[in-house]
């Protein structure tokens, strides 16, 4: 062991400014949610054609980040890689916050959020053939397992932690594959329908989770003036390269199979139609090509700044990947009858970005930021000492 963890002081001006800023945006998000709840979902961008909008996009994105983050914490606690121990606690804590944010996201998307308890009445009021209900078990269990896992880590019970870690990573993989199955098992929507979707989601989760974890680690270490072992970030960035390659292969297989009949036309529409910029710029450009160029670059791949730009692009790009799945997937008009359907029923849906929805979405993120700050202040998440390398500056304690 030999690695102590501590809370942060949380007395600096920046900390409070950030806290207040996050609180304000969370409050705005909550107000926007109340507006959408009381006056109805017509204030959001979703319609009967594109029923799932920003909240669901954010939800699956956050679940991915969470699952990826939790799986990476297992590097230390299950596979015994001691060099990642300084960030492992942070990873588990981040995973719990992110799944919490994801659940909030689902609740915001529900037309009747006060009835969301019905999702958790397993086998009694639920239709267990529904992927959504199965995912209810997965998400709920995941949240509890994450909490127990974190508790064991805090109690420094190595043996229990390892057992719990194995359960947690299996469950996290299941959670995100289940999320992929929500989309992949819908035969009606050609862009969704694909048996590889669960695995694609899982690999995207790993890549984005790692990227977000790296951002969180660098940001908190910098902010609390801790010395960061740069080799740690570079070894993680080498892992990220592999994960992105796996993801690219998955997406390539998915899109290639879809380019053959019978899903050819919707896929071509996705790749060239009105939403194609999300796919090409955000997904392919930001998540795959640019980070790969940076990470494989002999110079930029070896600097902290270059790596940080790359992981930032990945985090944005994976969001684009979710967006280019959810929105165009439902926007493509359904072929009710062979031939050209005239008028509104043959038109692809459009998704307007509305202020209420944007602030609501921002509110989810700031709420998580708030919880993260509170967690840093009250839980011993950050390392104090790693053979003299990561000593926090004592001068900060005033």
């Amino acid at each position: 062991m030999g690695l102590a963890f501590s809370k942060i002081d949380g007395k600096s001006r920046e900390f409070y400014i950030l806290l207040i800023l996050f609180s304000i945006f969370t409050l705005i998000g909550f107000i926007c949610f109340m507006v959408s709840y009381i006056s109805g979902h017509h204030v959001l961008g979703s319609s009967s054609i594109i029923p799932w909008g920003m909240p669901i996009t954010i939800t699956i994105y956050l679940i991915g980040l969470s699952a990826g983050s939790l799986i990476l914490s297992s590097l230390t606690y299950v596979f015994g890689k001691e060099e990642y121990r300084p960030i492992a606690r942070l990873a588990v804590f981040l995973a719990i916050i992110l799944i919490f944010g994801a659940m909030i996201g689902i609740a915001l998307d529900l037309g009747r959020p006060e009835k969301s308890w019905r999702l958790f009445m397993f086998f009694v009021l639920n239709n267990m053939r529904s992927m959504f209900a199965i995912n209810g078990i997965l998400y709920g269990g995941y949240f509890l397992i994450g909490l127990v896992y974190l508790a064991f880590i805090f109690a420094e019970k190595t043996k229990f932690t390892k057992t719990m870690g194995i359960i947690a990573i299996c469950w996290a993989a299941l959670v995100h594959m289940g999320t992929g199955a929500i989309f992949g098992f819908i035969a009606t929507r050609p862009i969704f329908f694909s048996p590889i979707k669960p695995f694609e989601f899982l690999s995207a989760a790993m890549a984005s989770g790692l990227a977000l974890l790296m951002i969180a680690v660098v940001a908190t270490f910098k902010f609390t003036k801790r010395n960061l072992n740069k080799e740690l970030i570079f070894s993680l960035s080498r892992l990220l390269r592999v994960l992105i390659i796996v993801l690219v292969v998955m997406v390539l297989i998915d899109k290639l199979t879809h380019l053959y009949s019978p899903h050819r036309e919707p896929t071509i529409w996705l790749l060239t139609g009105p939403f194609s910029w999300i796919f090409w710029v955000l997904q392919v450009g930001f998540a795959y090509i640019l980070p790969m160029l940076i990470l494989f670059h002999p110079q930029y791949g070896k600097t902290l700044k270059g790596v940080m730009v790359a992981v930032f692009l990945v985090v944005i790009g994976i969001f684009g990947e979710r967006f280019s799945l959810v929105i165009p997937g439902t926007a493509y008009p359904l072929p009710f009858y062979p031939g050209k359907i005239e008028g509104i029923w043959g038109m692809a849906g459009s998704f307007p970005i509305t202020p209420i929805e944007s602030f609501m979405s921002l509110g989810i993120f700031t709420l998580m930021g708030l919880l993260f700050l509170v967690g840093l202040k009250n839980l011993e998440l950050l390392p104090v000492d790693e053979s003299g390398q990561q000593t926090p500056e004592l001068t900060k304690k005033t």
Binding site: H42, P51, W52, D109, G111, L125
Partner: protein
């Protein structure tokens, strides 16, 4: 239900009758633009060919009430369920509004009610007069935040069975009753003596999107 495309003229009387019968909001131009207007029954126009050799088919589409309904499979809250008699209904009290059924429905038969009904363009002082006669629906009132769909006017059918009337001749859904061309026929598909069985045995029929194996119960008699 059997819809004779040879007789259908695309007058939208079925859509209007449905809106009047089930108190479905009429919608506004703005809702039409953003595609939030609620349709329990819609009529689509499908063209094939190029001018001057062009052919337009008008397909009136209620909910297909599939035997293997994708919406029933995906609903997590058992809000959408298939009744004993095969009608797929939506219970507003159970619906949590997750919209998964809209994503799963291959026929676009489902609409999300995103607005409270008391607002201006929805305002209707006159409820359908027979509402009191038909008694309690399985939901108290129309409410926003839930998904709606065609119910084959099950309140009429239930009432008709209670009064011992013959379903398909004396009691039919509103769209069937109001069709001026008598293109729609309603009845029991299992009953060999019913009008729908007779039509299906006498002519070739199609069902929409057979490739998804939904086994839907709305049959079309092609032209």
């Amino acid at each position: 239900m059997v819809i004779d495309l040879d007789k259908c003229v695309g007058c939208q009387a079925c859509s209007t009758a449905c809106k009047a019968e089930n108190n479905v909001p009429y919608g506004s131009p703005d809702e039409q633009r953003t595609r939030r207007d609620i349709f329990w029954n819609k009529v689509i126009a499908v063209t094939n060919g190029k001018y001057p050799r062009v052919n337009t088919e008008l397909i009136s589409m209620p909910c297909m009430h599939c035997d293997h309904a994708p919406c029933v499979t995906v609903c997590p809250a058992k809000a959408t369920y298939r009744r004993e008699d095969g009608i797929v209904v939506q219970d507003f009290r159970r619906c949590i509004g997750c919209k998964y059924c809209i994503v799963a429905c291959p026929y676009g038969a489902r609409s999300f009610n995103s607005k409270e009904q008391e607002e201006k363009e929805y305002h209707r002082p006159d409820l359908p007069p027979d509402r009191n006669v038909w008694g309690q629906w399985p939901f108290p009132t129309r409410t926003h935040g839930v998904v709606e769909k065609c119910t084959f006017c099950f309140h009429r059918i239930d009432q008709g069975i209670k009064e011992g009337k013959k379903i398909g001749t004396e009691v039919v859904p509103a769209c069937v009753e109001d069709c001026p061309a008598e293109a729609r026929k309603f009845g029991d598909l299992d009953d060999t003596h019913s009008e729908v069985s007779r039509l299906l045995s006498s002519r070739g029929w199609i069902r929409l999107r057979e490739e998804l194996d939904t086994k839907c119960k709305v049959y079309y008699l092609p032209r």
